[in-house]
């Protein structure tokens, strides 16, 4: 069963994101339909950098191969913005599928992709070239191509609807809407999208019906970071007390 088929039976499910082995292992033992190995979270783990654009495809793919040995369900790989041109996207998609991806998540940012709330987006033509290249690169008919549209704040609902239609024409399997306002998301849902729609999720996200699912942006990693900071503070306090003694 593909992930989209699975989500169709139980809509509104959350797909969690991981960027480190411990979180991935924890999630893989839980009852989620899939796990996203997120590029931004992976860059934090592998490079100690808060910028997915610094993480190259080969570095990410190596991590993906290690994680795919630990997976029990579907694995979503972060194709970012294709790691370059459509030609790069072709070989990146091929490599990520070979590295264990069940779903490839391509975004519509300009290359290099950035971890930001206001990313620069690429043209529809470039995005379509990348989507076609990724589709052509896939060997397994069950592997899905999902597209994350990150520019609705910039290009508006109408252009988002256009992109969804064009991407449906080009063979994409689903759309993720990111960096949106609730009204924009509702407008897209009201527009009867030609592809299943999902949206990114944070704990502050307002519930909305009609979506095929939600894609986490790193809730566990944020909670872990908060806990680590608290622990660090205690460690520092303890160290200071010890020094005073």
């Amino acid at each position: 069963m593909t992930l989209l088929t699975n989500l169709a039976t139980t809509p509104n499910r959350l797909i969690p994101a991981a960027g480190d082995g411990e979180t991935f292992s924890l999630l893989s033992q839980s009852a989620f339909p899939a796990i996203l190995l997120d590029g931004t979270l992976s860059a934090k783990t592998l490079l100690a950098q808060d910028n997915q654009g610094l993480l190259t495809e080969s570095e990410y793919a190596k991590f993906l191969r290690d994680m795919q040995l630990r997976k029990h369900g579907q694995l979503i790989a972060d194709l970012q913005s294709g790691f370059g041109s459509p030609l790069n996207t072709y070989y990146a998609a091929q490599d990520l599928e070979r590295s264990g991806a069940d779903i490839l998540l391509l975004n519509d940012q300009k290359y290099p992709s950035h971890s930001t709330n206001h990313p620069a987006t690429t043209s529809a033509e470039d995005l379509l070239g990348k989507a076609r290249a990724a589709q052509d690169a896939l060997e397994n008919p069950a592997t899905e191509l999902w597209i994350k549209l990150e520019g609705i704040k910039e290009y508006g609902v109408q252009e988002a609807q256009n992109r969804i239609t064009y991407l449906a024409n080009a063979g994409a399997d689903a759309i993720i809407i990111s960096h949106y306002q609730s009204e924009q998301l509702q407008a897209l849902l009201d527009g009867h999208s030609k592809l299943p729609l999902l949206a990114t999720w944070t704990p502050d996200t307002q519930p909305i019906t009609g979506l095929a699912g939600w894609l986490d942006t790193g809730y566990l990693a944020q909670q872990a970071q908060t806990a680590r900071q608290d622990a660090l503070n205690k460690l520092l306090e303890g160290a200071i007390q010890y020094a005073e003694k």
Binding site: Y90, E125, D126, G129
Partner: protein, 302 residues
């Protein structure tokens, strides 16, 4: 059928056919592509060549699992013929063996061999080898068999006991390895044609591999003769590494002597021929296929 499935199935079919599969060890992806273009049925990714090409060091257990796996993966991705892999000792204990098997299977190798040397190991034709007690590889082979997801991912046992305890011990061990789950048998470094024949008599129905190393312990024997002796796989582990090394050394000497590479050009492939070989035309065509002006056909709301 996906490529990984196809390659595993193809290799098993070839090995079990009764014919002999001839495999060069490819030091890298380019070498593997050369093997394929010359009609090879399969190719081998092995430690001596990987250690030389990644570290410029001898096969003495310095290159590790990560290097070997990555090299094998590059080779698998570069060709459309089966790739068999040298997994040394499995790189540790039973947990390491499990990871080794899972990883090689996941990258699309057709199978692996695991050996009974003490780590850090040596090339099978080097002196000073030590082997573990038989039980160690028996347990590793059981773990390997349990870890594989597909029965056609072939697992070969390799023993280096011939050099340490003699041929009888090597045969005795290999029988136990076969009982533990090894699909294929490899007794490293027999020292004569008579020994090759003795090995076959001990395993009349089990596919076996022979290793042809220039200046090694085993006499260089033609594939037809090895097939008559009952071997199903013959591997040439060092020939491409030695050829590359020799050719590159001659090139550098020519350059140092003449100040140009002109006198060596007859030994080189040409610029257009090489670009054709590595598929430049295909890459350029792919690049053009996704040009912006060709995407407008999708830009309709109809």
């Amino acid at each position: 059928m996906l490529k990984n499935e196809r390659m595993r199935h193809q290799f098993k079919t070839e090995v079990m056919s009764g014919n002999i599969v001839k495999m060069m060890v490819a030091p890298d992806a380019l070498a593997a592509k050369i093997c394929q273009s010359c009609g090879a049925e399969a190719v081998f990714s092995a430690g001596y060549a990987t250690s030389a090409s990644t570290l410029a060091m001898p096969d003495r257990g310095i290159s590790d699992f990560g290097m070997a796996l990555e090299r094998c993966r590059e080779i698998v991705n570069a060709v459309d013929i089966p790739v068999f892999a040298d997994a040394d000792t499995g790189y540790g204990d039973l947990a390491n063996v499990k990871r080794t098997v899972e990883s090689y299977e996941a990258i699309g190798a057709a199978g692996i061999f695991i050996e009974d040397q003490v780590w850090p190991k040596r090339c099978g034709h080097m002196d000073g080898k030590k082997v573990e007690p038989t039980e160690v590889l028996v347990a590793k082979l059981r773990a390997a068999k349990a870890a594989r997801k597909h029965d056609d991912f072939l697992i070969m046992s390799r023993t280096d006991a011939r050099a340490v305890y003699g041929l009888d011990e090597a045969i005795s061990r290999s029988k136990q390895y076969h009982e533990a789950g090894a699909d294929l048998i490899f007794i490293e470094a027999p020292q004569s044609s008579e020994e090759l024949e003795t090995i076959h008599k001990a395993f009349p129905n089990t596919p076996m591999m022979a290793n042809m190393i220039e200046d090694g312990k085993t006499p260089l024997t033609k594939p037809e003769e090895l097939q008559k002796l009952g071997f199903n796989i013959v591997v040439y582990p060092n020939a491409m590494t030695y050829t590359q090394t020799y050719a590159e050394e001659q090139l550098i000497k020519t350059l140092q002597r003449d100040g140009t590479t002109k006198a060596y050009k007859d030994h080189m492939i040409t610029f257009p021929h090489f670009n054709e070989f590595v598929g430049l035309d295909k890459v350029n065509a792919r690049d053009a296929k996704y040009a912006p002006e060709k995407m407008t056909k999708y830009m309709t709301n109809a």
